[in-house]
């Protein structure tokens, strides 16, 4: 069984004109595949023809609508990722809900063969070549059926929702909304929400001056796919013949670990702290990961003991798409890595505010 569809991600380093070229190419592919499923819409300018007034919703209404959308209908599609280097990755996706249970299957079509299953907050990644299954548990806070609002954040205080109109994406008419940040400590977002269900069919992360840092879109989508939860569930539990690996994760708090932010970074509140082994080199202690969020963007602080063998003396910066990374020695014996979908200056603020309490 195969239900075709395409969703794409573009990264910032592509020149603007090239991005458009790729979008056009992928959309054409999507249209030709889905021609049978979607009624012939004619041109790409259907937004102008339909032309109902842009829907005015508050940012929280938008988020709630988008969040409940995936369970409106089972769907299937194909997801394509374009990296800054020009590399492309794609995966096939199945999604279904039943009651409060949400299931998803993501099968990577490029790179190392792997299939990722998610059942609510439980994630299993199958690597068929090495016969290994990795089992992880995500924080349930971000998942259906609850709206993933982080307690204490006030999204509406730091972002303003502005309807931009309607566009056709993957054969579906979508409302376009711009989440504009009020300061330069976070990125902006442009979202394409399918009109009927509210499903996010395209997502752009915008840097300063409206530059697109990262872009994701379904270029083809089947919103009537016969995907069933028990089907996916059965596949997810078929671990026979696989070695099941479940990394140890210990829940903790920043205070308990002896860390505090002298001053909170505007809008970002602490979400969770865990100790986990990120790689085989991490000792029994693992790495302390503390997560902060302003409701839309998130920042991880990884705190570990400074090791001159592994860590350079100079600060490091890196990035992938909209995600930025800053690593530096904050105390003689402490190496801090800050990662988040925020501008580098926000990461610097976090690094500067971190203080040891004991």
């Amino acid at each position: 069984m195969s239900y075709p569809g395409v969703l794409c991600v573009w990264l910032k380093a592509l020149p603007q004109h090239f991005k458009h070229g790729v979008i056009a190419a992928l959309c054409v592919t999507g249209l030709s595949v889905s021609a049978g499923a979607s009624s012939a819409e004619g041109g790409v300018s259907s937004a102008a023809e339909a032309a109902p007034a842009p829907v005015e919703r508050s940012i929280l209404q938008w988020i709630e609508r988008m969040h409940s959308a995936p369970c409106a209908r089972p769907y299937a599609g194909t997801f394509v990722v374009l990296a800054a280097s020009g590399a492309m990755a794609s995966s096939r996706i199945w999604h279904a809900c039943e009651g409060a249970q949400q299931m998803e299957r993501v099968e990577a079509l490029s790179g190392t063969p792997r299939t990722i299953f998610r059942r609510n907050d439980e994630v299993r990644t199958f690597w068929p070549q090495s016969r290994v299954v990795r089992s992880d548990r995500r924080d349930a806070s971000g998942l259906f059926p609850r709206v993933p609002l982080v307690e204490g954040t006030s999204i509406s205080q730091f972002y303003a929702a502005r309807p931009v109109g309607q566009e056709r994406v993957a054969g579906f008419v979508a409302d376009v909304v711009w989440f504009k940040p009020v300061d330069s400590l976070r990125f902006g977002y442009k979202l394409w929400s399918e009109r009927e269900t509210g499903l996010v069919v395209k997502l752009q992360t915008l840097g300063a001056n409206g530059r697109v840092l990262e872009q994701a879109a379904f270029s083809e989508l089947d919103l009537n796919a016969p995907v069933r939860v028990e089907q996916l569930s059965r596949l997810m539990d078929a671990t026979a013949g696989y070695k099941v690996v479940a990394p140890v994760v210990v829940k903790t708090t920043a205070t308990a670990e002896g860390w505090v932010l002298r001053q909170p970074v505007a809008g970002f509140v602490p979400v969770s702290c865990h100790r986990r082994a990120v790689s085989a080199d991490d000792g029994a202690q693992g790495v302390l990961q503390c997560l902060y969020s302003d409701g839309l963007a998130s920042v991880s602080l990884f705190i570990e003991t400074f090791d001159p063998q592994r860590h350079p003396s100079q600060p490091q910066v890196s990035g992938m798409g909209a995600t930025q990374l800053l690593a530096q020695r904050v105390l003689p014996d402490v190496w801090l890595t800050v990662v988040g979908e925020v501008p580098l200056q926000t990461l610097r603020l976090f690094a500067g505010q971190l203080e040891r309490t004991r």
Partner: protein, 226 residues
């Protein structure tokens, strides 16, 4: 020219005759001698001791260029090669082609007009040693590999140092990073950073926008380290 040579310290005054003669051989190998000095050096190289020194210098040079060449000459093979070279006139051509490659490996040496004189004299009056010095090892590799004479050996000589220089840097790809003001920076990437980046993507992104497209994106995205 003389000034340049002296400033190199390769051809000093006649302090100790033996050392001076060896230095002359070294300079000869580097193509820095001319006139009577060439004749003197060639005369010394024709003697048993000079010959051994000459071979040793070239072995040193070869090892410096590539560790694959770190083995002494095979006297039997060299003798045979020398005989064959003496018999066949056209074989002079690969020798002439091989010598410039020595120039390429040591481009800092000033030789210009001098070099061609040196080469010519070596080919004409010094055939046996020239064979050992200029084409010995490369020809050996060529003959053993049954490859095309001259060309293949030369390619190896030219490529070895280059690939050695590229080796260490290839493990550290350079990535561009967007700063807050939109300016692009370039830095070295570290596999550990990729791991933490992936950990953040997998466990950190609990925000409202991460579902469902964010999850799909992260699941599809293979981190560069994997």
């Amino acid at each position: 020219m003389n000034n340049a040579v002296r400033s190199d310290g390769l051809v000093g005054g006649a302090v100790v005759a033996e050392i001076s003669r060896r230095e002359q051989l070294s300079a000869l190998a580097d193509g820095q001698l001319h006139g009577d000095e060439v004749a003197d050096a060639l005369a010394y190289a024709a003697q048993a001791e000079g010959h051994a020194t000459w071979q040793l210098y070239h072995l040193v040079g070869d090892v410096l260029r590539s560790s694959d060449l770190a083995q002494p000459a095979n006297p039997t093979f060299m003798a045979r090669l020398r005989n064959e070279l003496a018999k066949e006139g056209p074989v002079v051509r690969p020798a002439a082609a091989a010598v410039p490659r020595v120039d390429v490996v040591a481009p800092a040496m000033a030789e210009a007009a001098n070099a061609s004189v040196f080469r010519w004299k070596m080919v004409a009056g010094f055939a046996s040693l020239a064979a050992v010095a200029a084409i010995g090892w490369t020809s050996l590799a060529t003959l053993q590999g049954n490859g095309a004479p001259g060309a293949t050996g030369g390619a190896q000589l030219a490529i070895s140092p280059e690939s050695g220089a590229n080796g260490p840097s290839s493990g550290a790809p350079v990535v561009a990073v967007a700063d807050a003001d939109g300016g692009a920076q370039v830095m070295i990437r570290d596999p550990r950073l990729d791991e933490l980046l992936a950990a953040h993507k997998q466990f950190g992104s609990t925000s409202a926008l991460q579902m469902p497209a964010g999850f799909l994106r992260n699941a599809t995205f293979e981190t560069p380290s994997r």
